[in-house]
Amino acid sequence: MKKNEILEEILKEVDKHPEIMSRREALKFLSVSPLAASLLAGTTVGTSAISASTVKGKIVIVGGGLAGMSTAARLNNTITNADITVIEPDPLSVSYQPGQTLVAGGIWDKSEIVYKRDDKLPSGVKLIKGSVTAFDPDNNKITVDSKEEISYDQLIIATGLTLNYGAIKGLSGEITSSTTDNAAVKEKVGVNGVHSIFFQDGAAATWDGIQELIAQAKAHTGEKKLQAVFTHPDTPIKCGGAPKKIMYLTHARLEEAGVRDKVELTFYANGKDMFGIPEYHEAILEQFKTRGFKWNYAHNLTGMDTDAKIATFNHHWTEKGAWDEDLEEFGVILKSENVNVAYDFIHITPPMKAHDVVGKSKIGSNAGWVPVQKESLQHVKYKNVWCLGDVAAVPMGKTGGSVRKQYKVLIDNMIASMEGKTTLPAAYGGYTVCPLITGIGTVMLAEFDWSQKPTPSFPLDPTKERWIWWLLKVYALKPMTAIGMLSGRA
């Protein structure tokens, strides 16, 4: 789909509902969001902004998901006769993960988000179908599948993250990519009212789960409501809004089926607010209240008894401690207790971490993620190692929207470095976008950066839920990602 087709697709939907908004108004909205604006502009302007470089050197990219494959494509467009190798084991690595939310909500079919790695491999880029099993950055070498040694001049880490279901007592397994090796996890997740949209099969199963919940609710009698529980863990996660989006969609489906009053929806989060940015926090709180949601902060899911249907949370708080001479103030004492919650339906957002093979290697860190200078995306220790996407230790950065900013920055800096320049020209400002689906037909387009403020600087309230952002999310972001980014152009 080309740029005008994306726009036309949205405008066609707009035309069907003149009572909501006119074409003119729609265009006005689309031009005020930095995301929508750059999205539509980016596809028109295309590659003309990229100037060709003739730098030489072997570039190896570990991980060919959204970040790795987009970077390969853009590098390939930018460097003449580039020597690029991508290492990626998952044949469906470039599938559209943000669409998993819509699959779980019964809006899309799973087949609509499946994309094949081999179809997206830019011509001239070499592919190794395997996993990196060891990193030796002191000697500029990596090992693939424990046997093949590969050397590099520049290394780009784009391995995404591991969904660590096994860290929750009573569940098992880890998932390293959205579409692979999930048998252990699926023993307990995706059945029996236990769901998780973070991997592709899990997302499809969630839609079945929601329908089961509706059927259960229809048959339900008695005072006590059915309990639907939605969790948010204590680690950084990809797409910070996803745990809430699935809650909004479940609500919408229950309401549509006329059984919303039979089910109580409760959000259990490890943190102490809905969003780090006060404006969005307040907006979400209002949305929760309007929908009759309940919420409990400082609750971290630690255990699951899937037979008894009980979830165990670590509930934590602080109490005033003794006077601290060094602080010249009272200190705090950490307190915690276990809380058992009975559920009929639970959506689990698992703890997430870097893959151990990356996080525990020399390029990793104690915190697990790959430490980079957060503005330049250059590794803090190894000057020829770069990192982007979900695995990078970058505050707030784990979304496709941030990858869209990061890959351009990384490429500009890496090429400058290969040209022998000592100052790196490009800086990432922490831009992230979270199209928070608040219902079927509405989205709040939360755009923000490290300034901890909403980023749109236009006279339009960014905290409002709007239909037009829904159209953007449903019609524009997928072609934008699958066609624009993966060819290095958006």
Partner: protein, 123 residues
């Protein structure tokens, strides 16, 4: 007709997009009462030690082996109460400390402090 409107809008959008990318309006220039060095010597040093060696008695971890980038990340995290929606932070104690210290005037620029700490620990 439609095509014309679309074309005009796209070029308008393009202009907006490029100006929006080019300038970073959110970077507020903040001035601090004390330099990072003064803050460190007056406060942080008491718990973290002159060389970032930490203090087991006060459950203060060793931070001398961190790189500038890592220190910057950690300080950013501590100052902002974690940096992920609803995930919270693993630095509950230090978050409390930092809030109190900032109230007392011990505020500083994250990057400058990270650099100062690193250079001090590696003298």
């Amino acid at each position: 007709m439609t095509n014309k409107i679309t074309a005009i809008t796209i070029s308008a959008i393009a202009t907006i997009a490029f100006t929006a990318c080019g300038t970073n309006k959110h970077e507020e220039v903040k001035t601090y009462k004390m330099s990072a060095a003064e803050v460190f010597q007056a406060s942080c040093i008491k718990c973290h030690g002159a060389n970032g060696e930490g203090n087991p008695e006060k459950k203060t971890p060793k931070i001398s082996d961190k790189t500038i980038g890592e220190l910057e990340q950690d300080i950013y995290d501590v100052k902002n109460g974690g940096s992920n929606q609803s995930s919270g932070t693993t630095h509950t104690v230090m978050e409390h400390n930092m809030q109190k210290l900032i109230e007392k005037g011990y505020d500083y620029d994250t990057k400058v402090m990270a650099t100062y700490m690193y250079e001090t620990f590696h003298k």
